[in-house]
């Protein structure tokens, strides 16, 4: 196979490999075919189930609509090239392949892999499959860097770009609706400042500026506007340690000289440019985070049960987790990421131990900043759902030599929450959640590290919900039901669809009343009379599990879209 080329394959070449990604026992190869949309080719060890073609050791399938002749030709060439290859042999060569994604680690495994660009196979918006795409992990991965943000009273962020971008990127103020249901955004939590925020965004000073590029700025260039903002900040009396300049895509496209604008202030050391398109090694967030932690070097380290938490957003759930640990005698020293308070980060070394929430979007930061620290590191499976939360507390308790105290606190808390959990489980048993899947998206939903650390299906099943899988089966092809995990299969019914019409019909007739989607207010779901739900419904911790169940039960009980959804249909 040829090396990947960022451009389309040259005319006359049948195809080019754009990326290869491994997920468990499946490898997805994105290939670019001249004059046709990209194609995702899925390789698994030969399993005897319907496939486009089988080689001696492999089953080869594809994701997408009916194959175009050039796609078919490319697929046949791929199959010919892999005629005698075994799955393991292909996997062993992955590191040499273009943009090869590392293997998905199991939940609770070391979060050491940079997987931020995984599942970048075909364009989600440009793909011919977008009508049946409900999982937009590429958008999540693309915007994860803006979820991680520096905060603190002495940090100012300047976003150089157009305001509309905020509708597609994670909200920064908790008030802007995003087109995507990003997992790190919590609009469902109580309004107002979440509890548990420590030394976060200053109350008195504005901490976030936007150059708010308009049409005319696009035409005439936005650098002057950025310079003006930076000049005013530099001249202001606001006392800051750092002004971080970030840019959206448009200034890059029109060639704004962001580095030049920032360079004028480089001598003063306060204004820094964070180029999100730059190679990963130029990661300003990591650099400043590491520097802040380093400031605490030499401080006296606590010997008591003191713990740092990484990866749990500032939220009521975090406060509850801290309270539960506190009741067991374990103090949380710092809880950072995705918000990184640089002042709080100076205390990071005070604690002897750090607990990292497995999350692919945070993994690069863990790897660069936290894992090299001389602290004990725990990476228990994420505490989503009742059982996982109890297991998580158990691991943390054991690591802090407070296992018994944690056990007692958990028992008490469980007793308090028990009636609610039991009641919700009874409600959940009468409710069903829907998921629109194919081979690859099913694996994505199974894999917490592909869903911001949230094991969506496992939590839903553990809470007692019935599951309806709406499975894509290309017209004329035998339905390809992905191999369901036993726990999922026991709770699930499978329905098939082959085109937008049959998808709607299937969604309408399936007994589920809520359907999963990463798109905000997904019209495909509401117009079919169902309620959308997303990763935003899921919270960590015991109380988080209760609220998760309450939300899901509430979504299933919501009759609004059943009655009025058809009126919301796009015309």
């Amino acid at each position: 196979m040829k090396r990947a080329d960022p451009n389309r394959p040259p005319a006359g070449e049948p195809f080019t490999v754009m990326s290869m990604t491994r997920r468990g026992r499946s490898v997805t190869i994105a290939i670019a075919v001249p004059g046709e949309p990209d194609l995702a080719v899925i390789l698994t060890p030969r399993d005897g189930k319907p496939a486009f073609v089988e080689t001696r050791h492999l089953s080869i399938r594809y994701a997408g609509d009916a194959l175009k002749p050039r796609h078919e030709e490319a697929l046949k060439l791929v199959a010919g090239g892999l005629r005698d290859a075994t799955f393991d042999a292909i996997v062993s060569k992955l590191p040499e392949m273009p943009e090869a994604g590392p293997e998905t680690p199991t939940a609770g495994g070391p979060p050491d892999a940079d997987r931020s660009h995984e599942v970048v196979t075909v364009d989600e918006w440009g793909s011919p499959d977008r009508w049946r795409t409900f999982i937009f992990r590429r958008e999540f991965a693309r915007n994860a860097s803006s979820a991680i943000r520096l905060t603190g009273p002495r940090v100012i962020t300047v976003s150089h770009g157009e305001s509309e971008c905020r509708y597609a990127t994670p909200q920064i103020d908790g008030r802007t609706v995003s087109l995507y249901n990003y997992p790190w955004v919590r609009p469902l939590e109580a309004a107002g400042r979440p509890e548990g925020r420590r030394g976060g965004v200053g109350d008195e000073i504005p901490c976030y500026f936007s150059t708010d590029l308009r049409d005319v700025d696009i035409i005439t260039g936005g650098t002057a506007k950025l310079r003006a903002v930076l000049d005013r900040l530099a001249a202001s009396t606001v006392d800051t340690d750092v002004v971080v300049v970030k840019s959206t895509c448009v200034p890059h496209v029109i060639g704004d000289d962001m580095e030049g604008a920032v360079a004028r202030w480089r001598g003063k050391g306060r204004i820094r440019y964070d180029d999100v398109f730059a190679p990963a090694e130029n990661d300003l967030t990591a650099e400043l985070f590491a520097a802040a932690i380093d400031k605490g070097r030499g401080r006296r380290r606590s010997r008591g049960p003191l713990m740092n938490l990484a990866g749990i957003a500032v939220s009521p759930a975090l406060a509850e987790i801290e309270a539960l640990l506190g009741a067991a005698g374990i103090s949380v020293n710092c809880a950072l990421i995705p918000e990184i308070d640089l002042v709080a980060a100076e205390r990071w070394r005070d604690a002897p131990c750090q607990v990292l929430l497995p999350n692919p979007y945070y993994a690069p930061l863990y790897k660069k900043v936290l894992l090299p620290l001389p602290l004990d590191t725990l990476t228990p499976a994420a505490p989503y759902g009742v059982a996982a939360a109890e297991a998580w507390f158990g691991r943390v308790g054991s690591a802090s030599a407070r296992a018994s105290a944690v056990k007692t606190v958990l028992r008490n808390r469980r007793a308090e929450l028990g009636p609610s959990i039991d009641s919700l489980r009874r409600s959940a048993a009468a409710a069903r959640l829907g998921f629109v899947i194919d081979d690859t998206s099913y694996l994505t939903l199974c894999d917490p590290s592909a869903s911001a650390g949230i094991p969506v299906l496992d939590v839903a099943v553990e809470l007692g919900f019935g599951i309806d899988f709406l499975v894509y089966a290309p017209s004329g092809a035998a339905p390809a039901v992905p191999p369901l995990r036993p726990a999922h299969a026991a709770a699930a019914a499978v329905h098939h669809f082959s085109d937008p019409e049959s998808l709607e019909k299937s969604m309408r007739s399936a007994p589920c009343t809520a359907v999963y989607s990463d798109l905000y207010g997904d019209e495909r779901i509401t117009s079919a009379g169902k309620t959308p739900f997303s990763l935003q419904f899921f919270e960590p911790g015991l109380e988080g599990a209760v609220r998760t169940a309450e939300r899901l039960v509430g979504a299933c009980a919501n009759t609004f879209f059943g009655r009025y959804g058809r009126h919301a249909r796009r015309t």
Binding site: A11, R214, D215, V216, D217, I218, I219, T220, G221, G222, T223, V253, I254, G255, D256, D257
Partner: protein, 276 residues
């Protein structure tokens, strides 16, 4: 009965003579009694400068910068012979996005209903050199322009640009855009006119006019006039008039889709002067 609006687009490698030829065509159409709008999509603004004798040309982008809105009164300039002129303008060299400026101007056309029935019957678009990005192609993509003409010389890079432009025409064919033909603008007497003919046939188009070096062009330029005004009886102007008539009679519905070459074929064929 209202005349069909002729929407004519001139393209070609930078410096090939598009603005000069198009401002002359505009003058000739105006002299023929047509209601002409000259649309400059080149930040140099040279077409409108020639037609209006002005140096300071207010542009759509200027108005956006100054007022954040555009009105027809603020950007439409009356040229000699009653020609209306409008310029997209653009950013300072080296910054911003000129292509977006052109796209924004065309949005203004829609907002202001500038192409309202009977207002103009001939609209001529003077586009910047090669179509380097989607913004510069918006006059084609949105169906504003219809008959595309490419100005070429016998220099290789001018033909290369022409081949690329033909590709853009193919891409925009769904908007009713057609390649009306090539205009040969020859700078010296030894120019290989026959080669341009062969090149045109390879593209499945034709040469609608051949212009030769004429000192009157230079003299007219110094007088800030078009050659159609400066030397109306000259051979060059007769050729331009013939071309103007030819353009009008082209029926877009009968023009074959061009067949541009891929780069490899272009360079291989160029070695033999585009002989198959």
């Amino acid at each position: 009965m209202a005349r069909r609006v002729e929407k004519i687009v001139f393209l070609g490698k930078g410096g090939i003579g598009k603005s000069t030829i198009l401002s002359n065509l505009s003058t000739i159409y105006a002299q023929m009694g047509r209601k002409v709008l000259f649309v400059g999509c080149d930040p140099k603004r040279d077409g409108t400068m020639l037609l209006t004798n002005r140096v300071e040309i207010p542009t759509v982008v200027d108005q956006l910068v100054l007022r954040n809105e555009v009105s027809a009164e603020s950007v439409l300039l009356k040229g000699r012979s009653g020609i209306d002129c409008i310029e997209a303008g653009g950013p300072e060299p080296g910054v911003g996005c000129a292509g977006r400026g052109i796209a924004r101007m065309l949005e203004f056309f829609k907002e202001s209903d500038l192409f309202a029935r009977n207002r103009y019957d001939t609209v001529l678009f003077d586009l910047l050199g090669d179509i380097v990005c989607g913004g510069f192609a918006t006059p084609l993509r949105r169906g504003f322009g219809q008959k595309v003409f490419i100005v070429v010389s016998d220099e290789l890079m001018s033909l290369y640009a022409a081949n690329n432009i033909a590709r853009a025409v193919v891409n925009c064919a769904q908007n009713g855009v057609v390649l009306g033909g090539l205009v040969a603008n020859l700078k010296d007497s030894s120019a290989d006119e026959a080669m341009i003919g062969r090149f045109a046939r390879l593209l499945k188009t034709r040469v609608v006019a051949t212009l030769r070096r004429d000192p009157e062009f230079r003299k007219a330029e110094f007088r800030r006039l078009t050659i159609a005004e400066h030397a109306p009886g000259s051979a060059t102007v007769r050729t331009l008039r013939r071309m103007a008539r030819t353009i009008l009679v082209i029926d877009p519905g009968r023009v074959p889709r061009p067949t541009p070459m891929d780069d490899r074929s272009f360079y291989e064929l160029s070695r033999t002067g585009f002989r198959r």
